[in-house]
C-alpha cells in the first residue's frame, strides 16, 4: 500500500466508490453481469431489487471480499481491484453487513474498539460512538451475543461510525426488526450519514427512498435503472415491475 500511495492517492473530486462493469462469480455462478455504479462524497445511494439479483454481491465486490473476475473497483479514484479487503477497508470503506455479523463472544465495548482503525484515538472514537448511541453505553460490558437484534444493529452501525469511514456499505439494516426498532435504526443511519456517504441495500422500499438521495435498481445481476429518489414510490410502474410489489 505504501509504495503506491503517492501514485495512487486519487483525485479529491473522484467518486468515493466507482464500480465499472464488474463481472463477479461465485464459483461458476455468474452473479454480477456488468455492474457499474458510483457514489460521491456526502450522498446516500440506495441499491434496490428483488432477492438474489446481486445486491449483497455488489457490496462484497466493492470490498474485494468477492473480487470481480473482470471490471474495476476504484475507491477515491484508486484502483483497488484484487487488493486485500483490509487494505480496501482502511481506504475508508465500512461494512454494516446483513445479519449484523457481531463478534458475539466480545462485549459491546470490544466490538466498538476492534473497529477503530486509528489506534491512537481508540478512547476518543469509542466516546464518539457512545455519544451518538447513548443506549450502548449502558450495554458496554454485555456480550453482543446476548443483545436483541435492534441493539446488535446499533452496535454494527457504531462499528461503521468509529472506523473513519468515508463510505458505509449498509446491507439490509431493517431486516428482521420490529417496526418501532426500524425507526430507531433509520435515525441512527441518518446520524452516521451526516459524516459519511452511504450505499444502502434495503428491502423496505419506502425506507430506502426516505434515506437515499439517489437509487440504483438491480435485476438479474445488472443495473437496470438509476434515478433520484424524489417523488419515487413503490406504486411507480417500473418499481412494481422489478420489485414485484
Amino acid at each position: 500500500m505504501s509504495a503506491t500511495d503517492d501514485a495512487a492517492t486519487g483525485a479529491e473530486d473522484a467518486p468515493l466508490l466507482d464500480i465499472e462493469d464488474a463481472q463477479t462469480y461465485y464459483g461458476e455462478s455468474h452473479v454480477l453481469q456488468g455492474v457499474s455504479l458510483s457514489v460521491d462524497r456526502g450522498e446516500t445511494v440506495a441499491l434496490v431489487g428483488r432477492n438474489g439479483v446481486g445486491k449483497t454481491t455488489t457490496l462484497r465486490t466493492a470490498l474485494q471480499l468477492t473480487p470481480p473476475r473482470t471490471g474495476t473497483v476504484r475507491v477515491g479514484g484508486v484502483d483497488v481491484t484484487g487488493d486485500p479487503t483490509h487494505e480496501v477497508a482502511t481506504r475508508g470503506l465500512g461494512w454494516i453487513p446483513e445479519d449484523r455479523r457481531m463478534f458475539e463472544q466480545l462485549t459491546v465495548d470490544e466490538n466498538v474498539r476492534v473497529a477503530v482503525t486509528d489506534t491512537d484515538a481508540v478512547d476518543a472514537k469509542r466516546e464518539l460512538a457512545y455519544e451518538a448511541f447513548p443506549d450502548l453505553r449502558e450495554l458496554r460490558d454485555r456480550k453482543t451475543g446476548n443483545l436483541s437484534g435492534g441493539q446488535q444493529q446499533m452496535v454494527a452501525i457504531a462499528r461503521g461510525l468509529v472506523g473513519d469511514n468515508d463510505l458505509l456499505l449498509v446491507d439490509e439494516p431493517s431486516e428482521g426488526l420490529a417496526p418501532q426498532i426500524v425507526e430507531a435504526v433509520a435515525e441512527a443511519l441518518r446520524t452516521v450519514a451526516e459524516d459519511a456517504a452511504m450505499l444502502l441495500v434495503e428491502q423496505n422500499f419506502p425506507l430506502a427512498m426516505d434515506l437515499a438521495d439517489r437509487f440504483y435498481l438491480m435485476d438479474g445481476g445488472k443495473i437496470v435503472h438509476e434515478d433520484t429518489t424524489e417523488g419515487v414510490t413503490s406504486d411507480d410502474e417500473m418499481i412494481r415491475r422489478y420489485l414485484g410489489t
Binding site: 470490498l63 486485500p84 463472544q105 466490538n111
Partner: protein, 341 residues
C-alpha cells in the same frame, strides 16, 4: 489385568485412613503439575484452531523438537560443576531461544505450506500437518541416532541438567507429603504461561483482533484488520509455546526428550482441547485442570496399593474425553460453532 486389579498392595492397611492432609497435598500437587504440562502443550493447539480452524497435527512433534533443541542448550551449557542458579538461568535462556526459534519456524510453515491450503477442505491441512509430523520425527530420529543417542527413550543427559533442588530424588516435606521441586516449578511455569497468553488475548489490541478474527475472520478483515498476518503471528506463537513446553519436558523424568514425545504430547493435548471446547482458550485452561486432576487422582488411586495398575490413570484421561463427548459435546466452554469461516 486381572492380576493387577486383584493385587491389593502390601501396604494397604485401612484404605480410608490413608486419606490425610499429606495425601491431599500430594494428589493436588501431582494433579496441578500435570495440568500445567497439559495446558502448556495444548495452548498453542487451541489458539491456532480457534483463529484459523487448522488442526495442527504437527504440534506434538514441534514440542518434541523444542525438547531436543532445549535439551541441547542445557547439555552444552551446563556442566557437572554448574550451580543451581546457573542451571536455572540456562534453562530460561533455552526457553526464550527455543520459543523464538520455533515461533520463526511456525511462521515460516504458515506462510509457505499452510497458507495455500486455507481455501481447501480441512482434510488437506490435516494431511499436511500429519505429513510434517512424519518428517520431523524421522529427521529427529536420524540426527539423534547419528549422535549415538537412543531415540525412543528419554534423553537422560538433558534430564540430569536440573538443579539439585528440583530433582525427583529430592522431595520436600509439605504437610507430611513428599513434594518434588520440579512439580512446583511446573505449576509456576504453567500459571505464568496461562497468565501471559490470557494477558495477550484480553489486554492487548492484537489480542482483541485475534479474538474477533476467531469468531468471524471475514468481518474482522472488513474492519481493516490484516487477518492473514494475524494467522501468521498466531501460528508462530502457537508453535513457539509448544516448543517452550518441550524445554520443560526435557527436564521431567516422566517425559524427557525423545522422538515418541511428539505422539505422547499430541494425544493429551487434543484431549484437553476437545474437552475444553475447540478453540476456546478459557476452556482449554479449565480442561487442563480437569484432566490434570483426574490424572493425578487416578495415579494416586491406582498406584497407592489399593489397586495397582499403572496404565489406568492414562486410560481415565481418555475416559474423561469419552464421557465429555457424550454429556457435553461442545466442550466445557465451547459454543456451537467455533473456528468456522
Amino acid at each position: 489385568m486381572i492380576d493387577a486389579v486383584a493385587a491389593l498392595g502390601p501396604a494397604a492397611p485401612g484404605t480410608l485412613a490413608q486419606v490425610d492432609a499429606g495425601t491431599v497435598v500430594s494428589v493436588l500437587v501431582d494433579g496441578l503439575s500435570k495440568a500445567a504440562i497439559y495446558v502448556m502443550i495444548a495452548a498453542g493447539l487451541t489458539l491456532i484452531f480457534g483463529l484459523m480452524g487448522v488442526l495442527n497435527f504437527a504440534h506434538g512433534s514441534l514440542t518434541m523438537l523444542g525438547a531436543y533443541a532445549g535439551g541441547l542448550v542445557l547439555v552444552v551449557a551446563i556442566s557437572s560443576g554448574s550451580g543451581a542458579l546457573t542451571r536455572l538461568a540456562v534453562f530460561f535462556a533455552a526457553v526464550v531461544a527455543v520459543f523464538a526459534a520455533l515461533t520463526a519456524v511456525g511462521a515460516a510453515l504458515e506462510v509457505t505450506l499452510v497458507r495455500p491450503l486455507y481455501d481447501r477442505p480441512p482434510l488437506y491441512q490435516i494431511l499436511l500437518t500429519f505429513g510434517l509430523t512424519l518428517i520431523f520425527d524421522e529427521f529427529a530420529r536420524m540426527v539423534v541416532e547419528f549422535y549415538g543417542l537412543q531415540p525412543r527413550s528419554a534423553w537422560q543427559e538433558a534430564v540430569g541438567t536440573k538443579p539439585e533442588f528440583l530433582a525427583e530424588s529430592n522431595a520436600y516435606d509439605v504437610a507430611g507429603a513428599p513434594v518434588v521441586g520440579l512439580d512446583l516449578f511446573e505449576i509456576v511455569l504453567g500459571v505464568v504461561t496461562v497468565a501471559a497468553i490470557w494477558g495477550f488475548l484480553t489486554r492487548t489490541r492484537y489480542g482483541l483482533y485475534i479474538r474477533a478474527g476467531s469468531e468471524d475472520a471475514e468481518m474482522a478483515e472488513a474492519l481493516g484488520i490484516n487477518i492473514r498476518r494475524a494467522f501468521t503471528v498466531v501460528f508462530g506463537v502457537g508453535v513457539g509455546v509448544a516448543g517452550a513446553a518441550g524445554v520443560l519436558l526435557a527436564w521431567d523424568t516422566a517425559w524427557g526428550a525423545s522422538v515418541p514425545l511428539g505422539a505422547e504430547t499430541l494425544l493429551p493435548a487434543f484431549v484437553v482441547v476437545i474437552i475444553g471446547g475447540l478453540g476456546t482458550f478459557r476452556g482449554t485452561v479449565l480442561a487442563a485442570l480437569l484432566v490434570g486432576m483426574v490424572d493425578g487422582l487416578m495415579t494416586y488411586v491406582f498406584n497407592s496399593g489399593i489397586v495397582e495398575f499403572p496404565g489406568l490413570p492414562e486410560l481415565t484421561v481418555f475416559l474423561t474425553l469419552v464421557v465429555m463427548l457424550i454429556v457435553r459435546p461442545q466442550g466445557l466452554a465451547g459454543v456451537e460453532e467455533v473456528g468456522g469461516h
